[in-house]
Amino acid sequence: MSKEISNPENWLTDHGDYLFRYAQSRLRNEEQASDMVQETLLAAWRGWARFSGKSSVRTWLVGILKHKITDLIRKEIRNRRLTEAVESDPTSSLFNADGSWVEAPTSWKENPEDLCESDQFQKILHGCIGKLPEKQQVVFRMREITGEDSESVCKAAEITSTHLHVLIHRARLALRTCLDHHWFGGNRHS
């Protein structure tokens, strides 16, 4: 393997911005994102002997970064000692006793790509996510903002997959209702 490839300072030059963007897209916190880049490059330096050369250096670095991000979130979850007590179940208010919708969902016209461009929508979205009970919020963020798969989220949050599915389901229901009221269905409610 050539010396250039195995020089961590070159990794910083060649992949630093990319790794930072990746971390930032998942964490939405600049300070944490740049810490993750540092930890990833240091770990890569220590583990260089294990790099097989089968994938590109960038793919290998991103793999390490993903692990670091999951670890970080796991630590945060442990520190906050999220409790079950505050979990609310929106299904009781969204469904009638016979299992039908209290308020039937309507279709959303706006294109998801256009919504990504809208700062106003993102503000409302983050407001809606912020209103979720804490545990739902954490697993939902990991799943949708960080983009982890179900298995990693369960490991990080130390919960069973059945429990995760319930939390995510509740979060989706509540979020859909909140977005419908504050964005998509705005006109219907005025």
Binding site: R21, S34, F95, D98, G99, W101, A104, L173, R176
Partner: protein, 87 residues
């Protein structure tokens, strides 16, 4: 009459998390054929899913987002220290 909507909403969310069993899939598909509200819910969930996917991709590809210079220097020093102590 008992409605399947409440259960259907759980199955629809689960479908993003795990593979549904054959009978779950069957019941859900049949229900979606006859229930407009649940079909809309399915669309809403797909909408959210592609929105979040787009959002991650957008930040990942936004070349205006770069590692702040002060952090870059700090990382460079940390790497130098690590490689010096190793050689």
């Amino acid at each position: 009459m008992n409605h399947f909507c409440k259960e259907a909403s759980k199955l629809q969310s689960d479908e993003f998390e795990r593979e549904l069993t054959l009978s779950e899939r069957f019941r859900l598909r049949i229900h979606l054929l006859i229930c407009g509200a649940c079909s809309n819910y399915a669309d809403n969930l797909k909408h959210l899913n592609s929105f979040f996917h787009g959002l991650r991709k957008q930040t990942e590809e936004d070349e205006n987002i770069t590692l702040p210079e002060s952090d870059r220097k700090r990382i460079q020093e940390a790497l130098k220290k690590a490689s010096d102590s190793n050689s």
